[in-house]
Symmetry: C2
């Protein structure tokens, strides 16, 4: 089963387009976890156990682990998901990009070492730089298209032959690059108009949408702009709004409530639109 | 002392524009190293000891370590350089790029955890995504501009307001983004004409040039196109052509000879041009 099929099954099973970002930061961990031997792993396990019936994917962001040498805890987190919730796909958020044999090493890192189901990648180096990822046909390759930050427009918004660069990128990604049908795109929740333009170009390709919650993206506008004709095609990520819903030792209960609220808010708007 | 000053001192001291890429691959290691407890570290130490008077920088590519969980050997390699050859700067080739607090984590990874003197970054996410790196004023931030692979042109070569995207990027990097004077750019050796256009735009900003040797870039053409008016401003990287000059246990001697030959070839053309 390829990544997109696995993702859509999880979306159906849990009636959810919600993805939870697992981005632990030592200073923000609840006291209960901070004093554990593997603080990030304890935190993540509790969050996962509290939300696994409410999400369609988990998205650990690798820099949070790499900054402090916690690769083993990232590995153990992904292993924990695969052992306990094998239906929930894991998107490794790494935004990798390099050429030739080096890109092959990054693909090994994501898909073999960490056993991620999908990885985020940066397209600036072009189609041949993505090929070492794309050739893992059963894995998902989530290409940055229009990011949620204001500076995203510096390059992505430049006009190329009458349209913005990120739209040109969307055409490449939905067209010649997508031979294995395993591409997804990242479009920030902060730009619903641009999300709508990407959706027009890419058909049913799923869009990973960060930026709701802490970054200010509006759920109703995202759904209105981004759902595909089937009422699917979105993976809406929230990290801080869920995992730090409480800074106390009730963090898991608070995270479950925040995930439930956001999943249901998404579903209310989905059903209005369908 | 900031990164560029440190780099230029090393270039003067060793009369060299050569950077050696430390990209170990288990299958290509000489038998002598393959059976060591820390194979990559043994390989790198021998290479560094054999070439430290011939180079202006070392550039370990992080995917080679991350693919197989060898972060500790990367750390130890950088520590070995800093303890034994403190004048030689280390460029961590990681091509990182993300936004906000995540970019801060990647900067911590490169500059605090690994203690690199510089890191390569990907500009697709725009100026604000680079700021967490750039604010380390004493560190170098090496931004991808025009990469050496054929597919590099897919995005980088698109025409924006009458010029290619990579030239627009060069203007941003040499201008508004370079408040701390710590930016360098990557331009592949395979595109000497494009290297010349970047040089026209960026003044004396140093250019990191991969792609000589294994990827086919021509040394004379690179120097002709890329030297700044002072006869400096280039960091010419070779990885495989040097570190795998021999596949036998004479690898260090062979690497020294290959580094000497390439340094001297670069210098012959430099002096012809000056």
């Amino acid at each position: 089963m390829n990544f997109i099929a696995k993702l859509e099954l999880a979306q159906q099973k849990n009636n959810s387009l919600l993805c939870v970002g697992l981005d632990p930061v030592m200073e923000r961990l609840p006291p209960l976890c901070r004093h554990e031997k593997e603080p990030f792993l304890s935190f993540n396990r509790a969050l996962i156990a509290a939300t696994a019936d409410l999400v369609c994917a988990y998205k650990p962001q690798i820099a949070h682990y790499a900054a402090c040498g916690a690769e083993a805890e990232l590995l153990a987190t992904i292993r924990y998901i695969k052992e306990n919730y094998p239906d929930i796909p894991v998107i490794l958020d790494a935004k990798r990009g390099d050429i030739g044999s080096t890109a092959e090493k990054y693909a090994l890192e994501a898909f073999e070492r960490y056993q991620a189901d999908a990885v985020t990648v940066n397209p600036y180096l072009g189609g041949d730089s993505l090929e070492p990822f794309l050739r893992y046909a059963e894995k998902g390759v989530v290409i940055l298209c229009r990011t949620s930050n204001p500076g995203g427009a510096d390059l992505q918004g430049l006009m190329v032959e009458g349209e913005a660069l990120y739209l040109k990128l969307a055409r490449l990604a939905a067209g010649v690059w997508n031979k294995n049908g395993n591409i997804l795109l990242v479009v920030g929740a902060t730009w619903p108009e641009e999300l709508a333009r990407v959706r027009e170009i890419v058909g049913n390709i799923p869009l990973l949408v960060p930026g709701v919650g802490a970054q200010g993206g509006d759920v109703a506008a995202v759904l209105d702009a981004g759902l595909d004709p089937r009422g699917l095609g979105l993976v809406i990520n929230s990290s801080r709004g869920i995992i730090y819903a409480s800074s106390g030792d009730d963090f898991a209960v608070a995270a479950r409530q925040a995930a439930l609220d956001l999943r249901d808010e998404i579903n209310r708007h989905r059903h209005k639109l369908s």
